[in-house]
């Protein structure tokens, strides 16, 4: 949508009044976020207090990381249904390494976390690009495997006692006045934005999503690009998982429970298409912001958690139906 490169665009762009139409399409979601904040702020002034706005920004950065990870594979017509459980497993394993004995436990913990992420992503990538199994089923199977590991390696219990230096640095720390999670999300956003727009790899992802055969014919090494893409996705999930672990202060086997659903929801609400080749990290970021604003407000208004789940489903449906005219154009 917003940062869709023209090169990968499979449809003829509307040349008549491109500025107005494109602007309207791009401004829709930020406008919605603003509107939501305005209405919710009128309902409950606490929502727009500066403390809570910071809170929203921090919460958004976690979801945005996962939504960006999901977007990376959605672009190639893929899926990562194992994302949520990857977050759980990374959390548990990095916490176990950190609380274990040895020199520099924090560094080893981070390395273990990133390693687990890369391993899962690499396996997904190998099965999808190398063996040629459907991404949906591959990551569904992987989700089952990873879930089983996440809920058994620590006996199913949270792993407490994470070094304070880790939580202080990644959860409570600030750099030039900005909380660290926001910095991480911003950094990943910037890198991915540039990669998608300016690198052969990034353009390749759009081409594969738009038309895999044409991409191959055009000389894109589709297998390799897709495999790396799944690695990137899981790596991003691992980074987000460790930031979340720092925030909760323990390794949690249930940390990622709903994140698969939420990451897909955020990406789709932001305008990433499941048919591939459309959307980008900006869409993921905006979608994550929108969902976070809504759920933050519901939390403040003490809406029942289960009802929030119902509302999330309705939001997904609404965004699917509203985004439909865009496709038909």
């Amino acid at each position: 949508m917003s940062d869709r490169p023209d090169m990968a665009a499979p449809v003829v762009l509307d040349r008549a009044r491109p500025d107005i139409r494109q602007f309207a399409a791009q401004a829709k979601l930020p406008g919605l976020v603003f509107l939501a904040l305005l209405v919710l702020g009128l309902l409950d002034p606490r929502i727009v207090s500066s403390g809570n706005l910071w809170n929203i920004a921090i919460q958004t950065s976690y979801l945005a990381l996962f939504a960006m990870a999901q977007t990376m594979v959605l672009l190639t017509r893929g899926f990562d249904l194992s994302l949520g459980f990857t977050v759980s497993l990374v959390s548990v394993i990095s916490a176990m390494v950190m609380t274990g004995s040895g020199d520099m436990p924090i560094l080893w913990g981070i390395a273990a976390g990133l390693g687990v992420g890369l391993l899962i992503g690499g396996l997904n990538g190998f099965l999808i690009a190398g063996v040629g199994i459907n991404p949906l089923v591959t990551t569904l199977g992987m989700a089952n495997i990873v879930m089983a590991l996440a809920s058994t390696v620590s006996g199913g219990f949270p792993v407490p006692g994470i070094p304070e230096a880790f939580t202080e640095a990644l959860a409570e720390g600030r750099l030039i006045g900005i909380p660290v999670p926001i910095l991480f999300a911003a950094l990943c956003f910037a890198v991915l934005f540039l990669v998608l727009r300016f690198t052969v790899f990034g353009r390749g992802l759009y081409l594969i999503g738009a038309n895999p055969r044409a991409a191959k014919a055009a000389g894109v090494r589709t297998g390799r690009v897709v495999a790396i893409d799944y690695g990137v996705c899981s790596l991003l999930a691992a980074i987000g998982a460790m930031l979340l672990t720092a925030r909760t202060g323990s390794g949690e086997p249930n940390l990622g429970g709903n994140l698969t659903l939420e990451s897909i929801a955020a990406a789709v609400v932001g305008g990433v298409r499941l048919t591939g080749g459309e959307g980008g990290v900006t869409a993921a970021l905006l979608g994550a912001l929108f969902i976070t604003v809504i759920s933050n407000a519901m939390n403040l208004m003490q809406v029942d958690g289960y009802l929030q789940q119902v509302l999330l489903g309705l939001i997904i449906l609404a965004s699917l139906i509203l985004g439909r005219d865009h496709k038909k154009r």
Partner: protein, 324 residues
């Protein structure tokens, strides 16, 4: 016959599933002799029914090129509705007990109707639509129960359906066999069955040849919702209470059974008897792991591995095709 046609025949008739079934059953019997115990076999067959019935629904949706992720949530909804309705009419007996069941089935059909309408009329992605309805239905069910089981299920209902026997077999198995038989006849002998394949193979072509594609798609989702609800009712009869959590992994297992049973994710192919055999395989694996007291959490690991392994094997036997 050339080796190539032989290989194709083997794949078309679900040869892999039969092999897998024999291998799994033999392994289970060798590793754990108690597997062949009469009571255990009955147990396996009962659990098989709980998986096969919704898997048939999943298969129908998948042959149309779709997906139904809301199966597990619909089961839970049906379970809670059945129990709540029975608790509301404690004096009910005999055929009156069919009312809560009918209500639960209607709820399931409604979920399917909404799914199907959104997929067919608005041409939305089946994956996203059913993901959203999974979230909505599960959320509503959990909100209503707050996660607490609903008691008050009629004893007569529990003894007749859940724990009774007919022809020496559990009634749920007989029901499952009927469902599978109907599905086989539907696929082989009826226009609707062929239309499912046609819509999954090529919607445009199907529409041009006069298939009412919208109606066919909606019917597929309604059937899936209906069968999921039926499973929810049967499980309620078995456990004697309405629970908002019964759908947990069953929804995913239906997809696994369908996929291992050879249903193509692109739509247009899939056979009920193969899906039923795949469901039996998965049930035997789970049962064998229970008997050998393997942590139930590890069972999901095996489920995932079997799913990936079966597909990888399938892919390798078929030879690679362009599939990114």
């Amino acid at each position: 016959m050339s080796p190539d046609t032989l290989r194709r025949r083997f794949l078309e008739t679900g040869g892999i599933v039969i092999l897998l079934l024999v291998a799994v059953a033999a392994a289970a019997a060798i590793i754990e002799p108690r597997f062949l115990n009469r009571l255990n076999i009955l147990n396996v067959l009962r659990n098989f029914s709980f998986l096969a019935v919704p898997a048939i629904g999943q298969m129908i949706v998948m042959t149309t090129g779709g997906f139904d992720l809301s199966v597990g949530a619909t089961m839970a909804l049906a379970s809670v509705v059945t129990a709540a309705a029975m608790a509301a009419m404690p004096d009910a007996h005999g055929l009156q007990l069919l009312m809560p069941v009918a209500l639960a089935l209607a709820c399931g059909a409604c979920v399917g109707l909404v799914n199907g309408t959104l997929v067919a009329r608005l041409s939305l992605s089946p994956f996203m639509v059913t993901l959203a309805s999974l979230s909505i239905v599960a959320g509503l069910t959990l909100y209503y129960t707050q996660g607490i089981p609903i008691y008050g299920v009629s004893d007569a209902f529990v003894y007749a359906i859940g724990r009774g026997q007919g022809l020496g077999l559990p009634p749920v198995l007989l029901l499952a066999i009927v469902v599978i038989a109907i599905a086989i006849i539907l696929q082989r002998r009826t226009a609707l069955g062929r239309h499912f394949y046609a819509v999954g193979g090529n919607v445009g072509a199907a529409r041009l040849s006069g298939v009412r594609t919208h109606r066919v798609l909606i019917t597929a989702y309604v059937l899936s919702g209906l069968l999921a609800a039926l499973t929810g009712v049967l499980i309620t009869a078995r456990i004697g209470s309405g629970q908002s959590t019964i759908g947990g992994t069953l929804g995913l297992e239906t997809i696994a059974a369908a996929v291992i049973g050879g249903v193509s994710l692109r739509g247009g192919s899939g056979r009920a008897e193969n899906v039923a055999m795949a469901a039996l395989c998965l049930t035997i694996i789970a049962n064998a792991m229970n008997l050998t007291q393997i942590d139930s959490k590890f069972q999901t690991l095996v489920l995932g591995s079997v799913l990936i392994g079966a597909l990888a094997f399938d892919r390798i036997v078929q030879g690679r095709r362009a599939n990114v």
